[in-house]
Every structure is written in structure tokens, then in C-alpha cells.
């Protein structure tokens, strides 16, 4: 059973990590919690569904179709996130810290209810472009779906790492994360980099949405809410603003949930209580999260 639970934890953790990265990237650069991120991930899933429905021959079948579906949904989700930033957050950035947050909440409500009203109020089945088999490994039944999810998530994280650490744009993002004013003085256009960050964060969220749809087989207008809240918790657990922290937090949360459901008798219903309690305990010991840095406050 242990191997099986490990796989369960890895899959769940991978999805949480991808979502958490979206939160952490935006927070790192703007110190803002993007409450609408959970809806961006939901829209990514719906875009994939839409693509498969519109052009089933292209996107509904095969590995190439799957990849295409991914890339387009990611791009779409990224774009949506950029648009949200431009119109709902940017005008409020200089006004107060809370204003963009309330705006984000409003955007989240609009997106959720928009899908509820104009797409469907119920669960819609999610396409399965590639045939899913089960393989037996060390006594555990692992579905090829889980392997795809894990592989995709790790691939995306690797690409992100490369982008952030080894490209000029990535360097600009890191600079803005550290100190956006000085970065501006160095010739970086902060608005552009902020938009880029939102694009990348949104794309990752969109990818997570597609993986989520594939993993559970159906999507619904409010699918983003719970994973979003949990991934946000994961990001904070790891140290909000820290990319490695988001990944670490995501996997820890995934394993915690699996352990609670799988090993504690009657534990499934206490799963979230355990997760949040662990969060509180961790933050009491390390107030900036596991990998977060203590930021000195300038007087």
C-alpha cells in the first residue's frame, strides 16, 4: 500500500505545486495574493474541454493532440491572467495593498459565475485523448494517467527553472522580485515584466487545470476554489515568493493529505484540519515559511 500511496501523493502534490507556483510568482513580484488564480486554472481546464469539443479530430486524440491542447490552454490561461492584471489590478497597485485583493475577489466571482451561467452549471466530462492503462509496479496499480501528470508537471517545473535562472527575461523577473524600483532604475520595464510574470503564472495554473481535468475525468465551474485555496496554503507553507518553496509546499501538502486519508482511521474527514494545523505549527516555528527569507522592514 505504501508505494500506491506514494504515487497518489506524488500526483496530488504535482498538481498543487503547479498551482502554488502561480501564486508564488505573482506574490514575489507584487506582494499580492492573486485570488483569481483559482479561476484561471478552472478556465484552463474549460479551454481544453472547448478545444477538444470544437476540433475533436485535432485535439481529441493522440499524444500530439494532447500536447496541442496543453499548449493552447496554457497560452489562453496566461493571456487571461495578463488581461486581469491589466484591468483589475494595475490601476489599484499604487492605491493600497487591499484594493487589488478585493478586486481579485470580485474577478474570481465574475469568472466563476460567468462559467456557471454561460457554459454549464454541472459537471462536464473531460476528454481523454490518450488511452489510459494500468501498470503494476511494486504491488501498486499505477495508471499511465498518473505518470503523464507527474511527467508533465516535472517538465514544466524544469522549464520554469531554466527560464528563471538562465534567461535574460528570467533574470529580469528575479530582479523585479527582489526590488522592483531598483530594477526599474536599471532599465527594466516593470509593467512588462509584471505582465510576463502573470502570463507565466497563469500558464502554469492553466496546465494544472488541464491535468486536474484529466486526473478526475470531469470539470465544473467551481473546480478552482478548493485546489486554489490548498495550493495557496502550500505556497505559504514553503515560503511565499519562493519558487522552490512553492514546489516543496505543494508536495508536502499532497503527501500530508494522502497520509491523513490513508493511514489515520476515519482520517479522510480530518484531512484538511490536519493540513491547516501543520501549516500553523510550521509558521509558528518558521514565521516566513519553510524556505522563506526573513525580510527586514525598512524604517
Amino acid at each position: 500500500m505504501l508505494v500506491q500511496q506514494l504515487v497518489n501523493g506524488l500526483t496530488l502534490g504535482a498538481i498543487y505545486s503547479l498551482i502554488a507556483l502561480g501564486y508564488t510568482l505573482v506574490y514575489g513580484i507584487l506582494t499580492m495574493i492573486n485570488f483569481a488564480h483559482s479561476e484561471v486554472l478552472m478556465l484552463g481546464a474549460f479551454m481544453a474541454l472547448g478545444l477538444a469539443a470544437l476540433l475533436p479530430a485535432v485535439f481529441g486524440t493522440g499524444l500530439v493532440g494532447l500536447a496541442g491542447m496543453f499548449i493552447l490552454s496554457m497560452a489562453g490561461a496566461g493571456l487571461i491572467n495578463v488581461i486581469i492584471e491589466r484591468f483589475a489590478y494595475r490601476p489599484l497597485r499604487h492605491i493600497s495593498r487591499l484594493a487589488p485583493l478585493i478586486s481579485a475577489i470580485g474577478v474570481s466571482i465574475i469568472l466563476q459565475n460567468g462559467v456557471f451561467i454561460w457554459v454549464s452549471t454541472q459537471s462536464l466530462p473531460f476528454p481523454e485523448p490518450v488511452a489510459i492503462d494500468q501498470v503494476q509496479v511494486f504491488g501498486a496499480t499505477i495508471s499511465t494517467l498518473q505518470i503523464i501528470i507527474l511527467a508533465t508537471a516535472l517538465l514544466l517545473m524544469a522549464v520554469l527553472h531554466f527560464f528563471v535562472e538562465h534567461t535574460k527575461l528570467g533574470k529580469a523577473m528575479r530582479a523585479c522580485s527582489d526590488d522592483i524600483q531598483t530594477a526599474g532604475l536599471m532599465g527594466i520595464n516593470p509593467d512588462y515584466i509584471i505582465a510576463l510574470t502573470f502570463f507565466v503564472g497563469g500558464a502554469l495554473g492553466g496546465a494544472a487545470g488541464v491535468l486536474y481535468g484529466m486526473n478526475y475525468g470531469s470539470i465544473k465551474y467551481n473546480l478552482g476554489f478548493l485546489p486554489g485555496a490548498k495550493a495557496f496554503t502550500a505556497a505559504v507553507l514553503g515560503g511565499i515568493g519562493n519558487i522552490r518553496g512553492a514546489v516543496l509546499g505543494g508536495f508536502i501538502l499532497g503527501f500530508l493529505e494522502v497520509l491523513a486519508s490513508g493511514y489515520i482511521p476515519n482520517g479522510a474527514q480530518w484531512r484538511d484540519v490536519i493540513a491547516f494545523t501543520v501549516l500553523i505549527i510550521v509558521l509558528l516555528v518558521r514565521p516566513s515559511g519553510l524556505l522563506g527569507e526573513k525580510i527586514a522592514e525598512k524604517v
Binding site: 484594493a99 478585493i102 478586486s103 474570481s108 466563476q112 480530518w270 491547516f276 501549516l279 500553523i280 514565521p287
Partner: protein, 320 residues
Amino acid sequence: MKKILNNRWTPWITLALAALFPFVAGAIDAQYLVRVGGVIGLFMLLGLGLNFTLGYAGLFDLGFIAFYAIGAYTTAIAMRSGVPAPFALVLAVLVTLAFRALLGLTILRLRGDYLAVVTMGFGEIARLTINNLDALTNGPKGLQLAPWRPLSFLSPDPNVQYYLMILAAVALSAVASARLEDSRVGRAWIAIREDEIAARLSGIPVRHYKLLAFTLSAAFAGLAGGLFAQWEQFVTPESFVFWESILVVSIVVLGGMGSIPGVLVGALVLVGFPPLMQWKLSADWINYRYLFFGLILVLVTLFRPQGILPSSRREAELTS
């Protein structure tokens, strides 16, 4: 308009009009509005409470509804154990204060956004624990309460009775808040919110005042929860989901952080709007309620970020 708002008789006249409303509602076929009014009143109480934490002390709290739940369940359990209703309400306030103080002592040292997540976490912990502890709370099946109708001489309709009781509670709370706001304590809170380090350097014991603001909030939530439980005669964990906490935060921020009339109007608009739409629009439009709600949130924030009725300090801060 400003003259009306600044007139010292305005709050009293508004109060009188509000108190008369349920009696004329029957004549204009608007009994449903009395119920809506009661619900708005409960959220006014919640908003006034959160105003201490968020508006005065500037602490971002995403789990406030947990204390509404604790107040409601304490009242329910107490009344079912034989405690008379008024004492159950007092007990609700005390228990809520205790839990809140405990939480505050534990987490207030955390920085802004971490505090937000932890409060959110606590909100969920509270709701899930209530949902799971069947032996104490009957879990998802909820608890039923005996009716308490002290104002039945005024009207046979419990909606009217509780509307008036909640109105009284709101009035008292508003007065209490205003008094505190104007006192040394209130000024200390404002100083802390504006510049914590400067406040500390001026000799204000910041940690104590933060804890005080944080804890006092709970009294209002506990009272609101108790009244809610007695009115509905039924409590379930489903009434206390995360979304409700967000609603209260929106009420305070949109109404005008730190502004008592702002919070009251914020509750009126944000809580009154969906049921009002439901009452008069055809079935097809009803699903648009929350869409409009979200739109209002975004638009008001974009065009009036200081809130609907901001405190003069905040107005100056955000518009000059």
C-alpha cells in the same frame, strides 16, 4: 448629501425609520424584506466586529466567520443543555472571546499575508471540526434549538421580532465602536495601522493593542452568531463556509475601512443586493445575482477604492 451625513440627528432618524419598517412592511407586501433586513443586520454586526481587526488594527483576517460559528454553536449547545436563552447569548460572547484571544496569542506575531492564510486555515479548522464532532455538534445534521421569543408582544412574526433585536444589537455595537474609536485605545489603533514602528517608538505597547482589537472583534461575532442561532432555531456547519469570511472582509473594505457608517452601508449593499434581485426579478435573472455582485466589487474598488463611506482619514489618504 454630505450635510445629511454629517448631521448628528441622522443616525437616530435612520434608526427610528429602520425600527418602524417591519410594521409597515406588511402593508406594502414586503414581509420578505423584513427577513432580508435581519440578515443584513447580522452582517452589519459581523462587519462592525471585523472592523476592529481589519479597519482599526489593519490585520488581514480571512477566517472571521469561524467565530460566528462558535457563537452560534455555543448558544445552541447551551440552550439544549438547559441554559436560559439570554444567558446562552452571554455565554456565546464569552466563549468566542476566549477562543479568539487564544488564537490571537498564538498567531498575531505573523506577518500580514501569513496571518491571512493562518486565519483562513483556522476558519476551515473550526468549520470542519464542528462538522466532524458528531457527539457534540451532531455534525452535518445540525442542532435544533427551542424558540426564544421575548418580543412576541410586538408581533407574532419571529422575523419581525428578530429584526428588531438585531437592530438593537447593531445600534449598541455601533455606539460602542464609536466610543472606542474616539478613545485613547482607538487612537492607538490608528497609530499602529498607519505606522507600526513609529507607534512602537512612541511608547504604544503594540502587541497588547493588536491583541485587544483582534479579541474584541469576536464579541460582535459571538453575539451575531447567538442571535442567528436563536432566530433560525437551527445551526449547521454549512452556514459558515470560507466564502462568508470573504463577504465580511469585502463589507469592511468596500464600506470603508475603519468607518462605522461605511461598514453599515457596505453590509446593506453587499448583503442586500442578491436577495433584492431574487425577490423582484424573474427566475431567469436570478442566476445573475452573484455575477452582478462580483461586478460591483470590481467596479467599486476601481472607481472608489476608499470605500463607499470612508472615514475622513482614509479619504484623505487615498484621494489626495
